[in-house]
Amino acid sequence: MDRQALIRRLAEIVGPQGVISERNQLRTYECDGLANFRVIPSVVVLPETADQARDTVRACAEAGVPFVARGSGTGLSGGALPVSDGVLIVLARMRRVLEVDLDNQRAVVEPGVLNLQVTKEVAGDGFYYAPDPSSQQICSIGGNVAENSGGAHCLKYGFTTNHVTGLEVVLPDGELVHLGGGKAPDPPGYDLLGAFVGSEGTLGITTKITLRLLRKPEAVRTLMAAFDGTDQAGDAVSSIIGAGIVPAAIEMMDALAMEAAEAAVHVHYPEEAGAVLIVELDGPEAECEHQFDEVERLCREAGSTTIQIAESDDQRALFWKGRKSAFAAVGRISPDYYVQDGVIPRTALPEVLRRITELADERGLRVANVFHAGDGNLHPLVLYDGEVEGQEERAEELAAEILLTCLEHGGSITGEHGVGFDKKQYMPRQFSAADLDAMQLVRCAFDPEGRSNPGKVFPTPRLCGERPGPRRVHPAEQAGLAEVF
């Protein structure tokens, strides 16, 4: 099927207003939140219903073209980067909250529903949706499912994968299936829902998502503790965890990150502070109060110079605003910056932070550190000026070195932003060929033709049907029928 025929077929499915094929309009979709990589897709389709999404995927299957799903396009690893000969399926128009069932603590939503919208929907009844990525005002639930999004509060409450209990999925061949039990626990069969969440769009497209809702905790207490440096702040984190306390969140910002956030949102961080911790506890009142006093004491013992306690919801919101806007705020102190996402065992924090400083010094660059200290998820922001010759290359090099440092300490190349297009070349550093081949078995079961978000997550996947061993040219590839993505 040629491009024009496919466009006509897609317009039959979603109507002409749901298909974009003009080059200028297509440019809107050439990248996601990671603007370093840009590809103009062949066609963009905006389905409004699950049936339309299924028929769109089916049309792609019939035409033998690849497709990429996109939600709000806020991803930071190029997971929704289009493919030039493929269809970009944008799910942002599927925005209905289909059902709220408070008795069973579930909501059923379409993939384009925004993360924060779910909480808004049920807040009046005392419920909320726990995963809270920093982009929660604009990121979509479908995108969260694809990326297994985290957020500041996943230390206590887990990630998207722990809060999704049912999925309706369009498989790459156009078949519609239901994964997970939805409202009922322990459905018989393989946990394909577990395999799907976090698969970064490579196994199919979700059209309906059942989410777990939580009751709002009885009490929430938040403090912001300043320290001379990240070492002391790290000690405080260790003693809090060591005391058997599981805070809802522990976030750390270093001096440079504070400088940026201060410029943007005026949190009034203590001057001279080398690091600040935001610690939030929630739960039943009596427990929360008791442990909050202990956290305050442990912070002082670790050398905290100033402790501010949020006395109101507004003040708490301000603490968090500084933290959640830190990425964007860095734009105020540096013309360009690169957001890195890596994970280390929490106890390796002081050592890794020192190493990051050394690596940055060697290259004459600055790194602002903002991270989820409780679970060792680092977000070093590598600052550079693209106008200065060689800085961009050095920044990329530094960002890569930071990842390798994470791996040396037994960590991971991504804690929440995903592998996407950006980090696939590092996958063989974290996993052996056998590990990647085992993951490929899942891919081949869902998507034997490799048409769903090709070229993401895996560096050079085998074609399905190939036996493990030295890479050979697949007959289909030789005949020009398939391309190795």
């Binding site: 008795d103 069973n104 579930r106 005392g126 990326e147 985290g150 994968t161 722990n162 498989l171 078949e175 299936v177 239901h178 039990g181 409202k183 009922a184 626990p185 322990d186 018989p188 069969g189 393989y190 946990d191 394909l192 577990g194 395999a195 976090g198 009751r215 905790p217 965890i241 060591g242 599981v246 039943p284 009142e285 009596a286 427990e287 929360c288 065992p345 929490r346 989820h372 060792g376 037994g410 960590g411 991971s412 190349i413 991504t414 929440e416 932003h417 592998v419 996958m427 974290q430 996993f431 052996s432 590990d435 990647l436 081949d437 085992a438 993951m439 078995l441 899942v442 079961a445 869902f446």
Partner: protein, 426 residues
């Protein structure tokens, strides 16, 4: 290298006479002492086309349908090492054959535990993963899928592969660990697993309420789940339907916290009946008795899963209808799981000459139809061979069964790992 060579090398031995898996005789047994030995054993089994069943603590061997054949049992009992306990990171890496109780004992001195409390004594970590075993505290901590962060598996051809890692937060690559949760050894062997840990609670409090009817149970549980209270477990035990059942609500944490919550809970449940906060001496006894399965002495046991708010109605409907033969019942009232046992004592069914079997099978089929309306399921977890021949242990697996089969074909193309044990004859 095939099975004969492995036998010559001592890795595989003839099974002792009478060895069987769910009534199916077993010819050979292997007890690998390392992941690499397990890999050799599975590669050998692949070379000879042997059908393999993995056995941990043998506490759930009757789960699923009987395997079509078993040429080789691979026992994980020698893979019993706690490899790495990073207490400061609340993470543990452990071999699959480690008994859960031994792991908990190793973690306790650091004030930590793996937050899983399945009822089967002697269960191994690998078995808990493979069978997706859970207990009362799943209400608070989730199930094994929510706690596993990394896995090392040995695949059907002997390949050793891992996924995840040893950091709690990690989205690199597919989450194969979750795929293996509940896969009942049909995709490969769980050689190692890494888990996130939780602090051991310092204090506990228990509130109990007698319930005369399922309606009363619902009237008690619904407001509890809507409240801001955070129980670790909300358990139902109803050993004799002629007598009242008992609802047990457990709070765990620090002393002032659990006391306040128990008091608030007692007040809430007090609107429905006589709620009692257990005294200091009674709390431990109540916790010890928590989550015990009701069918240890019965012939037939089923697990019913349904949306938690439907549980009281489902209990009433099944007990008065298709599962009228059910006697003792227990369940996780907060999560939507019921365990129902036949009233017949163990062996009675056999003595009956199998007369009752068609009636049981009909009841199970009808119960499944009714449960389908609320998206629930019924799994037969204990049954004598006569019944197992007449009824599928799992029931329908939904519209993703075809996809499940394709996953199985990729992992085990020769269909040698526990053939026939899993859903849809997988």
């Amino acid at each position: 290298m095939g099975a004969q060579e492995l036998e010559d090398g001592g890795l595989v031995r003839p099974a002792p006479p009478g060895t069987a898996v769910d009534g199916v005789p077993v010819a050979r047994v292997a007890r690998p002492g390392s992941v690499s030995e397990a890999s050799q054993v599975l590669a050998g089994a692949a070379a000879d086309g042997l059908a393999v069943v993995f056995v941990g603590g043998a506490s759930k061997l009757g789960l699923g349908n009987p395997p079509e054949r078993v040429d080789l049992v691979v026992a994980t009992e020698r893979l019993d090492q706690v490899l790495e306990h990073a207490a400061g990171d609340l993470v543990v890496r452990v071999q699959g054959g480690t008994r859960l109780a031994d792991l908990q004992a190793a973690l306790a001195p650091a004030g930590q535990w793996l937050a899983l409390d399945p009822p089967e004594p002697g269960a191994t970590v690998g078995g808990v993963v493979a069978a997706n075993a859970s207990g009362p505290r799943r209400l608070r901590y989730g199930t094994v899928r929510d706690l596993i962060i990394g896995i090392t598996v040995v695949l059907a051809d002997g390949t050793v592969a891992k996924a995840g890692g040893k950091v709690v937060k990690n989205v690199a690559g597919y989450d194969l660990a979750k795929l293996f949760c509940g896969s009942l050894g049909t995709l490969g062997m769980v050689a190692e697993a890494t888990f996130r840990l939780h602090p051991l609670p310092a204090a506990a409090a228990v509130v109990t309420l007698e319930v005369d009817t399922p309606e009363q149970l619902g009237a008690a549980v619904a407001p509890l789940l809507r409240s801001a209270l955070e129980p670790s477990a909300v358990e139902l035990a109803w050993p004799d339907r002629q007598l009242p059942g008992r609802l047990t609500v457990v709070f765990e944490g620090i002393q002032p916290g659990v006391e306040a919550q128990a008091a608030a809970c007692a007040e809430l449940l007090g609107r429905v009946g006589t709620a009692v906060v257990a005294g200091p001496g009674e709390t431990d006894a109540a916790l010890d008795g928590l989550g015990v399965l009701p069918f240890e002495k019965a012939d037939v046991g089923v697990k019913v899963a349904c949306p938690p708010a439907e549980l009281p109605a489902v209990l009433a409907d099944l007990r008065d209808g298709p599962l009228a033969w059910a006697g003792p019942v227990s369940g996780h009232a907060g999560t939507g799981v019921l365990w129902m046992a036949s009233d017949a004592r163990e062996g009675e069914l056999e003595a009956d000459g199998g007369q009752i079997v068609p009636a049981l099978a009909r009841g199970i089929a009808e119960a499944r139809e009714r449960l389908a309306a609320c998206g629930g399921s019924l799994v037969v977890v204990k049954a004598p061979p006569e019944l197992k021949r007449g009824v599928d242990a799992w029931g329908p697996a939904g519209d993703a069964l075809g996809l499940m089969r394709r996953v199985k074909e990729r992992f085990d193309p020769d269909r040698r790992l526990g053939p026939g044990r899993f859903v849809g004859g997988i």
